[in-house]
Symmetry: C2
Subunit: 210 residues, 2 copies
DNA sequence: CGTACTTTTGAATCGCATCAAATCTGGTGG
DNA sequence: CCACCAGATTTGATGCGATTCAAAAGTACG
């Protein structure tokens, strides 16, 4: 049915690259499983009963929901980390999850995850902090997207994501444009406009407000 | 300094209206305090050391950050519930929080809050679930804001916030416009356009896709 | 019955998306 | 080392959709 190739994770190698997983080791080693999805593959489907919590190791997953009128709505695009944590709360999935690109997913049984949350204080705290951080990030992003102009969004980005009015970009400007929900052309124009006006300074991949 | 009027909460009345607080009762009763802020009052400031976690009971708080070039950036607008949870993670505030309207805030000492998370399993779970739900909501909202047209945002809203292609609005359309990050005029026009086209049906404060 | 707020429609304007095309860049293989 | 290619960057022209300003009609509530 699903195009999964199930295998055992090499837990040590994994935890080295994803430290948040390290804390799960005591509980999850031996029971967590890899799932590999090729592009378009379905991970779970609306109505199914959740059995696992997922941690996305590679690729992009899309969470979509089907409207009654046939329209398909993208609820979320996952790039990495835990997802489908709603499983803890609901007995059925409310959306479909499919692989937008080839993916590698770690599947951790719900019981193991819940147990770790209850009894593994270190994991719990790390997880809690990660969640709180995620919430802050998302809120900040929403605030940013609500800004009407490209310029305001860019300033907001530099102030909130950077340090002391200065960000180092670890991605091409094109990707930043996506993050700001702008066409890359609009971002380029805004940047050069602000640079000309002396509001911003560009040195390589560093942006600085002045 | 700050225009707080500190007093003891009537915990029972509070917990009735804010069930998530109920679970904190064993730990927090007797140590949590009210702070009343009048409009413009400062709750905390960048650089200060956090002592409490806050729960907003009434009013709006704005979290702002000052850019090096003097610009002020709104990081987040709080309408209710726990906030400033970053306190658990950082020894200093990274932003200012001030009352956008008159506010009532419950201040719970950090130690009490952290202790409850560690030792009060029911509170912890409720809090965890609330966080997870918040994250889902925020992500969905971001996805929505990223949509280019008023129409697409509206459809997304109905599908994700409603049930079976139908939402009942508990707020005036003007407020919905804000949530969708549209001017209310744009929303009105979009609605009537879709209604005329038979894509949407309006009955009182219920919107239905067809 | 008046006041405040929401809902509605109109007209002008602005900013961004889109389509197009040129240049630049880093990395590849011959 | 150079030719070449894919992707990133940049600039230009056009059009659309949303914002803004304005004004009127509807609605709730004391």
């Amino acid at each position: 049915m699903k195009d999964n190739l199930v295998s055992r994770p090499d837990w040590k190698a994994l935890a080295a690259k994803h430290p948040e997983l390290l804390l799960l080791l005591p509980q999850a080693a031996g029971v967590a499983k890899f799932k590999k999805l090729s592009q378009g593959g379905l991970l779970f489907q609306q109505g199914e009963q959740p059995r696992d919590i997922y941690y996305l190791l590679a690729g992009d997953i899309q969470i979509v929901r089907h409207a009654s009128n046939g329209e398909i709505v993208v609820v979320h695009r996952v790039h990495g980390g835990f997802f489908a944590e709603a499983s803890l709360e609901f007995p059925r999935y409310h959306s479909d999850a499919f692989a937008f690109t080839d993916c590698v997913v770690l599947a951790i049984p719900l019981s193991v995850y819940g147990d770790a949350l209850d009894n593994n204080a270190a994991f719990r705290r790390a997880h809690f902090v990660a969640q709180a951080r995620e919430i802050r990030k998302l809120r900040s992003r929403i605030e940013r997207l609500a800004l009407p102009t490209a310029r305001a969004r860019l300033v907001h980005y530099i102030v909130t994501e950077g340090v002391d009015g200065s960000v180092e970009l670890d991605q091409p400007l094109k990707a930043l444009a996506g993050e700001l929900n702008l066409s890359h052309e609009a971002l380029y124009r805004t940047l050069s406009g602000m640079a000309k006006g002396g509001v911003i300074e560009r040195r390589g991949n560093v942006l600085r407000l002045r």
